[in-house]
């Protein structure tokens, strides 16, 4: 069976002002798999992640060259619908960032913005999102409470629920567990395994064991360049590039 790619990146170069952050990136992101981006701080992982749903547009002096295709469409084309892209390609950040409103309203926020008004439909969307983010049992009796009353791990799963409520196809995660304790981290990791049945996941992580545990593919970046991209098992048992080997074995630093 041939794997289908949701993203196809070709010759991607990205500058912040005069500073080049990505050099000639070429890679594809396979559907319904978890793809991990690893590498030392500042190597361009977050930049690449943000270029997949044009979050970089929000940064003033950011300039993108090259081709990023989502479902075969060039997302940097003038006529491309960015709002639609960000609906289909959701994002979860490093620090849980719940809105200052109730648990329910946090999740209903996106669908409401899209014009969903029917109470019953909203209830269903919220419940589904909570079930799918493995949070439902913990919060079902307190949906009206402030989202900020949740623990850090629960807040992060709420953010995942918020992303799911938009029925995206891809979820981008930028170090989603780096602010969480081991148990909350384990829950998110387990959740990611569940989510990949329905979504394509791209995750930035600085935790190499995490990349090895949860991802199908791993891309290793160094100073804005994609050094090696392969099946995760291969990267962690038999990397083909010396820089990859040095980095993952901690000989680099």
């Amino acid at each position: 069976m041939k794997t289908e790619n949701v993203f196809q990146i070709t010759n991607l170069n990205l500058h912040y002002g005069t500073k080049q952050a990505l050099f000639d990136i070429a890679m594809e992101i396979p559907k319904n798999q978890v793809t991990a981006l690893i590498g030392p701080s500042g190597c361009g992982k977050s930049t690449l992640l943000r270029s997949l749903n044009r979050m970089n547009d929000l940064i003033d002096n950011c300039h993108v060259d090259g081709l990023v295709q989502y479902e075969n469409d060039d997302i940097y084309d003038k006529n491309y619908d960015v709002i639609n892209l960000r609906t289909r390609v959701g994002m979860v950040f490093q620090k849980p960032n719940p809105f200052p409103m109730s648990i329910f309203d946090n999740i209903a926020y996106g669908p409401r913005c899209q014009g969903v008004k029917d109470k019953k439909t909203l209830n269903e969307i919220v419940k589904n999102a909570l079930v799918n983010s493995a949070l439902y049992d913990e919060v079902k009796d307190r949906l009206k409470e402030a989202a900020t009353s949740l623990s850090g791990g629960q807040q992060q799963r709420l953010c995942i629920a918020r992303a799911i409520a938009m029925s995206p196809e891809v979820i981008l995660m930028d170090e989603p567990t780096s602010a969480l304790d081991p148990i909350a981290t384990a829950k998110i990791e387990e959740l990611i395994q569940e989510l990949k049945k329905d979504y394509t996941i791209v995750i930035v992580t600085h935790n190499m064991q995490q990349a090895a545990r949860i991802s199908d593919n791993t891309a290793f970046f160094l100073m804005g360049e994609l050094i090696e991209y392969d099946k995760t098992d291969l990267i962690f048992s038999q990397p083909s590039k010396k820089q990859t080997e040095d980095y993952i074995t901690g000989r680099f630093g």
């Binding site: 090895a212 962690f236 048992s237 038999q238 080997e245 993952i248 074995t249 901690g250 000989r251």
Partner: protein, 220 residues
Amino acid sequence: MTYRNQFDKELEELKISLIHMGDMVIKHINEGFQSFLSLDSSLAQSIIEKDKLVNEQEYKIEKECMRIILREQPVAKDLRLITAVLKMITDLERIGDHAADISKMTIFMENTHHHFETKQAGLITKACAKMISQALESFVNNDIELAYEVIREDDIVDNYFEEIKNAVANAIRSSSIDADYALYLMMVAKYLERIGDHAVNIAEWVIFSITGEHKKLNPI
């Protein structure tokens, strides 16, 4: 480089422990064969007892590997190195068993005062000891060529085994060998031939550790 010092030291120590285990079994093979040649059952008995030390060394290395896996969560060539060590100690332990098996033959022969001269028996013993020590040397020095050399040397061991078998068969035909002695000698030769196979396994794990590929050069 700096924050790996402790880990690198642990890997070096692991290699030293492995070499130590290798030295033990090589010594036992030589002594086991010596006990058979001279029908020295007290030497044989001492080897059978010393085999326990080999088992203990295997256990010690195994525990050390598990501790490193737990604490360092090794990946890439570190992971392959630990995996290779865990597999190699199994082969070394079996080699130790065979050295003890050879010694047991000596003890069974206690009352058979017979001698049968084959220069190949001495040669096969030497060849086996060399294969083991080269296999371990290739591991310590990351010397893939030497590992392949060990795999090729197994043919020499197999040839010696054939020659011993033919010599014994001829001696049986001409009734110039004691029947029990012939059987025990063949057993000893077979144990040595198996020792050669285990040395090949070790060399194959060396190749795996270096390249990530496990080559069966001579598929059975």
